[in-house]
């Protein structure tokens, strides 16, 4: 992909012309991405979520742990929206009240902060560690490769959620431990992806050239190999955020993740699972929130994969 960079000796006009003719890889990818229907929807959803998370204080009418006590208002009251003809004497409750007299809408809004943090933090940590391990294994080869990758195979042999449950059981329930557990179980995925692309990149001619010029192995790995091996990680990582959010919600549902009164969507679902028939809104809205978030990251991930696919011409 380096061929697209204009040669330094070109004149200004020539450079201009070259930019018109050949786009930078980043611009080309962005253009493809923005033309991809699923990526458009995914980006829209995620942007919305990010905005909601940032401005949660302004959007949510109540604090997430504030009880709304008013005579005649029962816990698990159904939604009451004034615009839709709900009695204006009652407080407006877009998603109804939860089992502890708290405004469900405010909790879902604050929950977006948590879910996005969980998604980005765990995936970020897993990519960082997984990339280093995978790169080391792929570039060094030999016994280092064997040791690292067999360890990764051991982690992969367990179903991810089961392993996460085991880790949380050892560390004890809690949000931080959940983050750790979800990050640990996703490391091997990135390690494998990075290793396989490092394996193919390190056979390239420019690596041989760099080595012939006397570059140190570390420099070759971090400056020449890794930047060119990261493309697949971006795709897998985007999809991985969705999985991480889902796993963390699952752990919280089981009571192993976030602890009350944290407005974590999975926890909210789990707490009210027995009300599914007499107060369906309490499981519907957190469930929808999880679904939409996961859908957003999955659509974006699909779009990214298409856009970054070198075999597909614009």
């Amino acid at each position: 992909m380096r061929e697209s960079i204009p040669a330094p000796g070109m004149g200004a006009t020539a450079r201009e012309a070259s930019r018109l003719r050949v786009q930078s890889p980043f611009a080309r990818t962005m253009r493809r991405l923005l033309h991809n229907r699923s990526a458009q929807i995914g980006l829209a959803i995620i942007s919305l979520l990010v905005l909601v998370a940032i401005f949660a204080d302004a959007i949510a009418p109540y604090a997430y742990d504030q009880q709304i006590r008013q005579s005649g208002l029962r816990r698990r009251s159904p939604p009451c929206i004034h615009l839709l003809g709900c009695d204006s004497n009652k407080p407006q409750l877009i998603m109804g009240l939860d089992g502890n007299f708290r405004d469900l809408f405010s909790r879902v809004v604050y929950g977006s902060r948590l879910s996005l943090q969980i998604g980005f933090l765990t995936t970020g940590a897993a990519i960082l560690i997984g990339t280093l391990l995978g790169a080391a294994a792929g570039y060094a080869g030999g016994w280092a490769d064997n040791v690292i990758m067999r360890a990764m195979d051991v982690l992969l042999a367990f179903p991810s959620l089961l392993l996460a449950i085991a880790i949380v059981s050892v560390l004890g329930p809690g949000l931080i431990n959940t983050l750790l557990a979800v990050a640990i179980v996703s490391i091997p995925i990135y390690a494998r992806v990075v290793r396989s692309s490092v394996l193919s990149v390190k056979e390239m001619d420019y690596i041989a050239a760099s080595r012939a010029l006397g570059a140190s192995p570390l420099r070759i790995l971090f400056v020449r190999v890794l930047p060119n091996a990261l493309t697949p990680v971006i795709v897998v990582g985007t999809l991985g955020i969705a999985t991480a959010i889902l796993d963390a919600a699952g752990l919280s549902f089981l009571g192993l993740g976030a602890q009350p009164p944290t407005p974590e969507w999975g926890l909210m679902l789990g707490e009210e699972r027995n009300s599914v028939f007499n107060a369906p809104h309490l499981v519907f809205f957190p469930g929808i929130a999880i679904m939409v978030t996961v859908l957003g990251f999955n659509l974006l991930g699909d779009g990214l994969r298409d856009a970054l696919d070198p075999r597909r011409k614009a």
Partner: protein, 584 residues
Amino acid sequence: MNTKNRFLPALSAAAVTALLLAACAPAAPAAPAAPAATEAPAPAPTEAPTPTEAPAPTEAPAATEAPAPTASAMMKVEAPNCDYGGKMKAIEAVDELTVKFTLCSPDPAFPYKIAGDSFAILDADYLNETGGDSNKISENPVGTGPYKLKEWKRGESITFEAFADYWGEKAKTPTAVLRWSKEAAQRLLELQSGNADGMSNVGPDDFETVEKDADLKLIEVPAANIFYIGFNNTIPPFDDDRVRLAFAYGIDRQRIVDDYYPRGSVVATSFVPTSFAVGASPNVPWHEYNPEKAKELLKEAGKENLEVTLTYRDVVRGYLPNPGVVAQEIQAQLKEIGVNVKIEVKESGAFLDSVTAGKEAFYLLGWGADYPDATNFLDYHFGPENKQYGKPYDDIVALLKEGASTADLAKRQAAYDKVNELLKKYVPMIPVAHGGSALAFRADVEGAHANPVSALVFAVMAPPRDTFVYVQNAEPISLNCADESDGETFTACAQIYETLLRFKLGTAEVEPALAESYESNADLTEWTFKLRPGVKFHNGATLDANDVVATMAAQWDAKNPNHKGRTGSFEYWTAYFGSFLNAQ
């Protein structure tokens, strides 16, 4: 015990008085003609250490015939003295159908205790074969009950089939199935779809759903339990009396009961339900909700901006039908007095062990009655052995002893009034509620009932189908209830085994079961039971007094080869009768 799921009815004072009187006189017509056993004083031919049952197939034990020269020596287990820490002095098979229990101190509640499912009678030979091992017994349980085990599909269901040789009224339905599901919503769904005929613990918000459904009926269980918030007075910050008192002022119990408890629940004034003859003190009401005073107390103690951890187990009980939301409500209420509460859910077994060991500082727990007497509530919790509140309070211990030593209700109440005063002063716990709960059945199930303190009786259930299916919250732990204390386990055991006395359907009064009649001496230390003749075990053996002695000795005597069980703790024995014989 803590793990149980049982409730007491609103027992009128009269009922208890009657029961206490009954303790002094035979409650049922004495055995008309105890078979000639008394005349044959058991010569004990040579050495017969274990009773050898004469199989005598098909021969009905005709009362006229002298029971074939029984080779069985009459067993007797006796403690050398009363200093070993237990309450039991001796258990003796007086003759083939008479058993005598001798106690070290008077016990007016003995008939209730012996009616508990933990004291079900096993065949002595069978007990020796299995060595009292709960695992082996669970494989092939042998009792005298109206049902015998057909199959236990672990993790799925237990199937019972009617026992043809049952001594009493035979089971109305040939097959009964016990299943379990943790979620109240799922149990209700099974009931609504017709897959089940009955369910335990209707969700607090589902009472109306069940009542509106013409195919279902709701049977409410009266509130005779207690939900409390416990403290440990040895763990900071709860070692400071003012902190515990501040919490007592800072928790609005009325709000908890109004908002989170189903119909039939009441705010607790005392630890003991008011429906009991003695123990509750309506004239000593609990601290009024007063958040200002709570804040002052915390300020005085220098404990502003306190951070504490509240632990509980996520198990639905009649006393606590909504553990999660109640914990969060308490969290929210305490935040108003400036206390930050972190909530921690613990696994049920681990949580109970930790509370019992005195390791939980601040926790939610409750108690359902085993029998309708204050001793079952107060003595267990505030006695000298209990470590769950930290260091026991000596003045309460002394008063409890006073309250339990007499049958005079006025004297007992006077002692318990003082206990309640002290509980209010020390605040080892905050009594919150007596919770109401309910069972639900298909409307066409005849004989549907709810028992206040004992397990449901499947044998009287008569749906117009040949199978009765009941769904409860959890799977039984074993089918040997001697070493169990869990209500869900008792539901299974109660169908297979029987006790000397049992609780009358729908009440907390005892009636004869395997014993036809019983009597005690004047000072309530000697209890004699006349066994029902001709009772068959599921393996064909016939019940005799040695079976009773062998069953009890296996629990009582730590050196008995059958003293094994599941964990060997035999909680009910130690809770009712103190230490084991030959312990250590």
